[in-house]
Amino acid sequence: MSKLIFEKSVKGARSFTLPGSDLPDRVPEEIPADFLREEDPLLPEVGEVEAVRHYTELSRKSYGVDSGFYPLGSCTMKYNPKINEWAARLPGFAGLHPYQPEETVQGALELMYELQRMLCEITGMDAFTLQPAAGAHGEMTGAMIIKAYHNSRGDTKRTKMIVPDSAHGTNPATANMLGYKVIEVKSDERGLVDVEDLRSLMSDEIAGLMLTNPNTLGLFEENIREIAEIVHAAGGLLYYDGANANAIIGIARPGDMGFDVCHLNLHKTFATPHGGGGPGSGPIGVKGFLVDFLPVPVIEKSGERYRLSYDRPRSIGKIHAFYGNFGVMVKAYAYIKALGNTGLKEVACNAVLNANYLRTMLAGSYDIPYNRLCKHEFVASARKQKKETGVTALDVAKGLIDRGFHPPTVYFPLIVEEALMIEPTETETRERLDAFVEALLEIDREARENPERLKEAPHKAVIRRPDETAAARNPVLKWEPGK
C-alpha cells in the first residue's frame, strides 16, 4: 500500500525555516482583513528526511530510459546525455530572469540564436522560433502561421485542413483549435498518403496539409515531392510534423521536400529528457515568405550584440509568456554541438538500422502489416496472436513489463489493428535489441501455451491492471482526509 505524502504528515513536523527577520517590528501591513485566507491550505507537514525518502520511493516506482529499454513508438526515447543536464543547471543559465536587461543575458541570447541557425541548417528552413513549449504547441503555432499567411492575402475561404488517417491526434485537434474543418486523406495499400485521394480533396478551400514524414507507420512518404506540388498548386501550405525527424536528420530535410512550416521536438530528436510528460520544446521553422508571421519576440543580431525584437507588425503574437522553455534549449544546443556536422547523420543511420534489425528479427512471429524497409520505427501487430490465442496487444505490453522492458506504443496508429509501434532509437546496443526480441518471442510462446498467465500480467510490477473504468466513472482526482 503506497501512502500519499499527506498520509505521512504529522502535525507540527517541519525542517524548513526562514532566516530570522531583521525588519523593524512596526511595518504596517497592507492587506484588508476580508482578503486574508481564513483556513490554512491542506499541505503536508513532514521533515526533510521523510520528504526525501518519500520521493525517492516514488522514483523507484518509475521507469525511465536510464532504467532500461523504452521502445515507445513515435516518442524517440533515446538516451539523455548527462552533460546537458549539467549545462542547463549552470547558474548563468538557470538563474536568469526573463526580463533582465539585454546586456546581462547576451550569452543566453547567443545560445538561442545559434540554436535557431543550427535548426535551420538541419531542416532546410529559413528561420526558427523557439517559443513553443511542446510539439503540440508548435503545431498550433504552425497552424496559426498558416492561417495568418492566408488571411494576409485576403484568402479567407480556406477553412479546411487535411490530415492523413494515420496522423497523431494532435494534428486534427490542432486544426480544430484554429477553427479549421478537418478533412482526412486516406492511406493507400502501401501505408502512404493516397496521392489520388489527396488530389481529389484539394480545392481553394484547403489551407494546407499536415504531414509526418516518415509517417506514423515508420514509412517514408516517397511521393513527397508530388504531394507538395499538389498542395502548392491549389494554394495550400505544407506542414511538417517533426515527431519522426530522428529518422532523417543529416539525410534529408523537410525544407528540401517542399514543406513550408515544420516543427521539431527537442525532447525527441535532440535528446532532451521527457521529464515524465514534460517539459519539452517544439520549435517551429518556416520558409522565407512566412518569416514575418513568427511569434514575437524574435532574436536579432547586429554586430556582436543580440536583442529581442518585438517590432514585427505581421507577427501572430505571443504563444508563451516569455521565450519558451529555455532550459530545454540549452540541452538541445549542447547535444547538437556534441554531435556536430557528422554525428547527427550517425543518429539517423543507427536509429533506422536498429528499427530494421528489430523488424527483421520479429517478422517470423509477429505480423508486420507493412513489412518492408522502414525508417526509425515500424508497426507490428498482435492480430495473429489475438486470433489464435486471444492474447491482445495490451497483454503483450504487460508481458513485456514482467520481462523488464517498457512496452511499445499500443493501439496506434489507428489504421493497424492490435498495433505495437516499436521505436528502438539509435542509442541501444544489439545485445539490448536481441534481449527484447527474445522477450517478444517468449511472449508469443506463452500466448500459445499459457495465455491466461499473459492475460493476468504483469506479475512482477508494483500494481497489476488498474481499473480504468472505475477511475473514469467516479473520478477521484485528489486526496481528501478521511476518505
Binding site: 493501439y411 480504468e468 473504468t469 473514469a472 466513472r473
Partner: protein
C-alpha cells in the same frame, strides 16, 4: 448481439422507438459493445430543436468517444438523467435505456431508417 424487433435503426447505430408523436432514442447493443465500458454520457438540453443527424450528446468510454446523433428531427421533451449517475446501464441494457425523448417534427423521416432485419444485415456487413 441483440437486435430488437419493432424499433427503427440508423446507420450510426442508434435506435428509435415511437409512441404517438414521441420518439425515444438510444444506442444499440452493437454500439455499446464497440464503445466498451461507458463512463459518461452528455445529454442534450430540454426544449432544444434538432434535425435528423444532428449531434445531441456525447458518449464516452475509457478509450473512445462517440457523438450521439438523433435519427429523427424534433424537440427534446425529456432526457434520461439517470444516465448521469449510472452511465454503465447503457452497457447492460442499451434498449431499455433511452438517451432522450423527442417530439417528432417530421414522422415521415422514420421511413428513411432501417428495420430490425435490415439493421441485422447492416451490422453483419460492417463486421466484415
Amino acid at each position: 448481439m441483440e437486435i430488437r424487433e419493432n424499433l427503427y435503426y440508423s446507420e450510426d447505430h442508434e435506435w428509435v422507438r415511437v409512441e404517438g408523436d414521441l420518439a425515444y432514442v438510444g444506442i444499440t447493443d452493437y454500439a455499446q459493445h464497440h464503445l466498451g465500458d461507458i463512463v459518461f454520457v452528455e445529454l442534450p438540453e430540454i426544449d432544444s430543436e434538432y434535425a435528423a443527424g444532428d449531434t445531441i450528446g456525447v458518449i464516452e468510454s475509457v478509450k473512445a468517444v462517440a457523438d450521439m446523433h438523433t435519427p429523427v428531427s424534433g424537440t427534446v421533451v425529456e432526457v434520461n438523467e439517470a444516465l448521469e449517475q449510472a452511465p454503465e446501464s447503457l452497457n447492460k441494457d442499451p434498449y431499455g435505456r433511452h438517451i432522450a425523448i423527442l417530439r417528432l417534427s417530421d414522422p415521415e423521416e422514420l421511413g428513411n431508417l432501417m428495420n430490425a432485419e435490415q439493421y441485422t444485415a447492416f451490422c453483419e456487413q460492417a463486421e466484415e
